[in-house]
């Protein structure tokens, strides 16, 4: 009972507190990293942290409102976190020539194929499921 009384007001203030949510997500990541090291699983800590959060959300221990603002911030600013890694190009002056053009061709061609194939597969699945559902309704 007493614990509930502490947790519920805490939850309410957490709902509108983005910095606290960012810290909370950071803590779940550290927990995931620790679990990964402790269990020796070949799964990155971030994924374990994500699974822990999903389990807590599903069990109702954690409301999505307690994390939404922080999560939206991390996802919205995702580009910033990997801009430093893009500067790896500095170590590869050879990419400025033919090799760079080849890489661009692989990425461009591959991306067009991936987008086309994925969209067509999903669309066909949707149509097939729609037909199944329609048939189901007729039987009912």
């Amino acid at each position: 009972m007493d614990l509930r009384r502490i947790i519920i007001p805490g939850r309410r203030s957490l709902r509108s507190n983005r910095p606290a949510q960012i810290v909370l997500l950071f803590a779940f990541w550290l927990l995931g990293e620790a679990l990964a090291r402790w269990t020796g699983l070949p799964i990155p800590g971030g994924i374990i942290g994500m699974s822990v959060v999903l389990a807590l959300l599903a069990s109702g221990w954690l409301g999505q409102g307690s994390l939404r603002r922080g999560a939206n911030w991390f996802i919205a600013e995702l580009l910033l976190f990997f801009i430093p890694a893009v500067l790896a190009i500095l170590d590869h002056p050879e990419f400025l020539g033919i090799l760079g053009l080849k890489i661009v061709a692989v990425i461009l061609g591959g991306t067009v194929v991936v987008m086309g194939v994925t969209a067509v597969v999903v669309d066909l699945c949707c149509r097939a499921m729609g037909r199944l559902e329609a048939d189901g309704h007729v039987i009912e």
Partner: protein
């Protein structure tokens, strides 16, 4: 404090990185051109600055690595869109699963095949394989299958820029009937940059794209140890 003070260097290059990102983000909102993406403008500005100040990549990444480390908690953050879209998953899981699995396999196979065709091999080719996955996941997969995570980050960035740019052209060519397919196209093909573009097309397209991006990352990271054995 002298200019070569390590702490000052960390502060300077971190500030330069964040500032160039914020400026590029602001410009992109106004211009909306492929070249104005923060993925193009910010690295271009930083490369110019690094060349002018004779900063090596090794020093630069040591000083800004804390920003890259934030990709870890960002991975955890993906739990929220997955949870929020659980209704969508329950209703459309067969189509989503097919899109994520077939899309991921197509991404790896097309990169492998095209690299083979153009004579790219070794760690460069392996670094190209995870390019359709969102960065935090892509760099993990790259490391596990023998690629160079930093190179993969470069390729992921290029994929996002091209995919967001060409996605709408592909939409015009393909006769797609469902918002699910339009969203999956962007989430699978162009991760973060694609999700932003999909939100511009429609609400449902945007949520599907975000969900597909998160699922693609999750599935690929879990499949990576298996893939590493096959390669």
């Amino acid at each position: 404090m002298s200019l070569s003070d390590p702490l000052l260097q960390v502060a300077f290059w971190s500030a330069a990185t964040i500032a160039s990102y914020l400026v590029a983000k602001h410009l992109h909102r106004r211009l909306m051109r492929w070249w104005s993406s923060p993925l193009v403008l910010a690295p271009a500005a930083l490369i110019g600055l690094a060349l002018a100040l004779h900063e090596s990549y090794r020093d630069y990444i040591r000083e800004t690595h804390w920003l890259v480390a934030l990709l870890g908690p960002a991975t955890v953050a993906f739990a929220v869109p997955i949870w929020e879209q659980r209704g969508l998953i329950r209703r459309h899981w067969p189509a989503l699963a097919a899109g994520v699995v077939v899309g991921s396999m197509t991404a790896m196979a097309s990169a492998w095949g095209l690299a083979e065709l153009l004579g790219l091999s070794g760690s460069l080719r392996l670094s190209l394989l995870p390019r359709s996955i969102s960065t935090p996941f892509a760099m993990t997969v790259s490391g596990q299958i023998g690629g160079v995570p930093d190179l993969t980050a470069v390729f992921v960035a290029l994929t996002g820029v091209f995919g967001a740019g060409f996605g709408e052209t592909i939409l015009r060519v393909l006769p797609l009937h469902s918002a699910l397919a339009r969203g999956a196209l962007f989430g699978m093909g162009a991760h973060g940059a694609g999700v932003a573009r999909a939100h511009g097309i429609g609400r449902e397209e945007g949520s599907v794209a975000g969900l597909v991006m998160a699922l693609v990352g999750l599935v690929n990271v879990l499949a990576a140890p298996l893939l590493a054995q096959m390669l």
